[in-house]
């Protein structure tokens, strides 16, 4: 067995820190004395990684039971390690779906709450936390506390989006949504540039409950911000195929690809192909929910494509108040700064109301996310982008972050003091910490 010193643990981006995971079906036991809980490790950066002085995380994935499901109301209570993939497998064919889903189904209920995840329907449903009715937490002093928007609401809203720092989530109760059919009625079309994108997103949001765009962030000049806009709604049963969708086959990437695999050439080629191959320029029809919501899940461990150097995702939200031109300004800056850095995936989505979660990411405006292979220029790239985002009054998403400096985060987050106040009340000694909270919030390590 490797000793704790040798073994490492990382987020989805593959940047490793010393540490290891412990597992149990029994979260009450597992969380006892633990510094941090972890789900399926889909946070890109170091939010689910332990601090250096206590290099062990409590991984919840074996605690995956449904504790109750009311088929009249959709009320569901589950253990924190229950995955969205399992819920979809069981309940999607029966026309129940989570009110909010991220772009992968390999996430746990605990991770969905802790990051207060948002999805393609943010403009109608808000974040996942808005649908959570109750949480069972183990707080730092060892007590088990049930909290909800009504009971211990301060703790509740600090936990929603609180990245595991206010308590270990043991159970999550929320309400599933009835859907008209388990298939998606989707449309997608090419968009010439970022200005058209902003227009089309806004226009689509009025009629479509789910929207998002993919941007070729290698495009410049008149084409800057060209891409494909996707929009969808649950299909009308009359138009949908008769049976439920079959689970999609996955392929695995069993090892890291060499670091050179993703370079400027392959990335430009990928983006060009992605854009050109969207033929005809506008497509519509019934789509499999997995290929609509989770296109990346087709390849398990696709993160290994980036090789051993790892990668990060930069995701920020630019507020409405910064004006419609903000996305253009951001992309102009980005294409200039990106240089040889390779990003093959860039996603854009409009966000609506801010969640009540004290550190929840979305705010009204436009969210832009891109994957970046890590090299020695990445820190500077993130610093520069962060300065621009601060300037515009925006912020970054903790679930994706690996490089943001504490002073930058503070400048983005007027809500941070409030969060730290609530945290201090429940955990005065800051027993619960992560590599990220040490890095960004200045927690002891």
């Amino acid at each position: 067995m490797p000793s704790a010193e040798e073994s490492t643990i990382s987020g989805w981006g593959g940047l490793a820190v010393p540490g290891r995971e412990v597992f149990s079906e029994d979260l009450v036991r597992l969380s006892d004395g633990a510094v941090l809980s972890r789900g399926l490790g889909r946070a890109y950066g170091d939010s689910a990684c332990p601090p250096a002085d206590a290099p062990v995380v409590a991984t919840t994935v074996l605690a995956d039971r449904i504790l109750s499901f009311d088929e009249e109301t959709g009320d569901l209570r589950g253990e924190a390690g229950l995955s969205l993939r399992e819920l979809n497998r069981l309940l999607l064919p029966r026309k129940w779906f989570t009110p909010v889903t991220p772009g992968t189904q390999y996430v746990t209920l605990g991770g969905m709450v802790a990051a207060d995840i948002h999805g393609k329907n943010h403009h109608v449903e808000g974040c996942f936390g808005a649908h959570v009715t109750s949480l069972l937490l183990r707080v730092a002093d060892g007590r088990l506390v049930e909290c909800s928007p009504e009971v211990e609401s301060e703790l509740f809203w600090a936990t929603v989006g609180g990245m595991g720092l206010t308590g270990h989530i043991l159970e999550v109760a929320f309400r599933m949504r009835r859907i008209s059919s388990p298939w998606i009625d989707a449309e997608s079309f090419r968009v010439a540039n970022i200005d058209v994108f902003m227009e089309k997103l806004e226009e689509s949001a009025r009629e479509w409950p789910m929207t998002m765009g993919w941007i070729d962030c290698r495009s410049t000049g008149a084409n800057l911000g060209r891409g494909i806009l996707y929009r969808g709604k649950w299909a009308d049963p009359a138009e949908a195929p008769v049976g439920p969708p079959k689970a999609k086959r996955r392929i695995d990437m069993p090892f890291n690809l060499p670091n050179w695999f993703l370079n400027k050439g392959t990335v430009v080629a990928f983006n060009e192909t992605m854009f050109r191959c969207h033929i005809p320029a506008k497509r519509s029809g019934i789509r499999h929910p997995e290929s609509f919501f989770y296109p990346l899940d087709k390849v398990l461990h696709w993160n290994r494509m980036y090789g051993s150097r790892g990668f990060t995702q930069y995701q920020c939200v630019l507020p409405e108040s910064a004006g419609r031109g903000s996305a253009r300004r951001f992309l102009e800056h980005l294409t200039k700064e990106l240089g040889g850095a390779s990003s093959f995936l860039c996603v854009i989505k409009d966000c609506a109301e801010e969640s009540q979660g004290l550190l929840s990411f979305p705010m009204p405006g436009i969210s832009i996310a891109m994957d970046i292979a890590v090299d020695d220029r990445t820190q500077k790239l993130v610093d520069d982008l962060n300065e621009l985002v601060i300037d515009m009054g925006g912020r970054v998403y903790l679930a994706k972050d690996s490089f943001t400096r504490p002073e930058h985060f503070r400048a983005m987050e007027p809500r941070l003091d409030r969060f730290m106040e609530v945290r201090a009340k429940w955990d005065p000694e800051l027993k619960l910490r992560s590599a990220q909270s040490v890095r960004i919030f200045g927690d002891p390590a």
Partner: protein, 246 residues
């Protein structure tokens, strides 16, 4: 099928209970902790196409006197028993067991003598009902004496021998005995160990076992590759086994 499962709260037993419930079988849970059994029972209900209620009874492999009443409770709740499944078992590393004879005895008792006592109670009831299936989880560790699993392996070797004998003796009377030999499977039991190349997934094991029950097989390796791995290991000369750490 109407099946009682001992060990359905965790690991491969949890997976198997789910596979059975999801395909429409009626399941009854046996185990140590009533509160935990109730949580597992609730997990199975929404999976069952008929929304069968899942009931449970206390049964602890350390307490022989709990076996009979637990099986009777299962038979009564289900109306009849088609299958009794045992996934419950105990694992400790060889070093730990060498240091602590009491622990070694406890493991031998749980995995070997008491599991057999439980199977005897199940055998009588299944035969009285005209037959059925007794499916019990042993291990590849029982196939050959090996350094890392000297004592645990011995407990499973004994169990495997019992299960084979039982199948020979009672198959003609309608009792099918299935010996399941999992290889390394990623569950709470093995969470502290470094997984070898062919580490299995409990859900995959569960599907293999459900199929083996249907096919009335006497023996199944899960995942299937372990059959070949063990074929090689069983045929290695002693001097090699003495050298290697596996």
């Amino acid at each position: 099928m109407k099946a009682a499962i001992l060990g359905g709260t965790k690991g491969m037993g949890r997976s198997l209970a789910r596979v059975l419930a999801e395909r429409g079988d009626e399941v009854f849970l046996l185990g140590r902790d009533p509160e935990d059994l109730e949580r597992s029972a609730q997990d199975l209900v929404p999976r069952s196409p008929q929304r069968y209620l899942v009931r449970h009874a206390a049964c602890d492999l350390k307490r022989v006197e709990s076996f009979g009443p637990a099986l009777d409770a299962a038979a009564e709740a289900l109306g009849k028993l088609d299958a009794v499944i045992v996934t419950a078992g105990l694992y400790h590393g060889q070093e730990e067991l060498e240091e602590d004879t009491a622990l070694a005895l406890e493991l031998l008792q749980v995995n070997f003598s008491n599991t057999i006592a439980f199977c005897e109670e199940a055998r009588r009831r299944l035969l009285a009902g005209g037959g059925g299936t007794l499916a019990v989880f042993s291990s590849v560790a029982g196939d050959r004496g090996r350094k890392p699993v000297v004592i645990y392996g011995a407990s499973k070797a004994g169990l495997s021998a019992y299960l084979e004998g039982l199948d020979h003796k009672y198959r003609a009377d309608g009792l099918v005995t299935l010996c399941v030999k999992p290889g390394f499977v990623k569950t709470g039991m093995t969470a502290g160990l470094k997984p070898p190349p062919f580490a299995g997934d409990p859900d995959d094991v569960a599907r293999i076992v459900a199929r083996a029950i249907d096919a009335k097989k006497p023996l199944v390796y899960a995942p299937g590759i372990w059959r070949f791995v063990m074929l090689v290991i069983k045929n290695l000369p002693r001097f090699v086994m003495r050298k290697i750490g596996f």
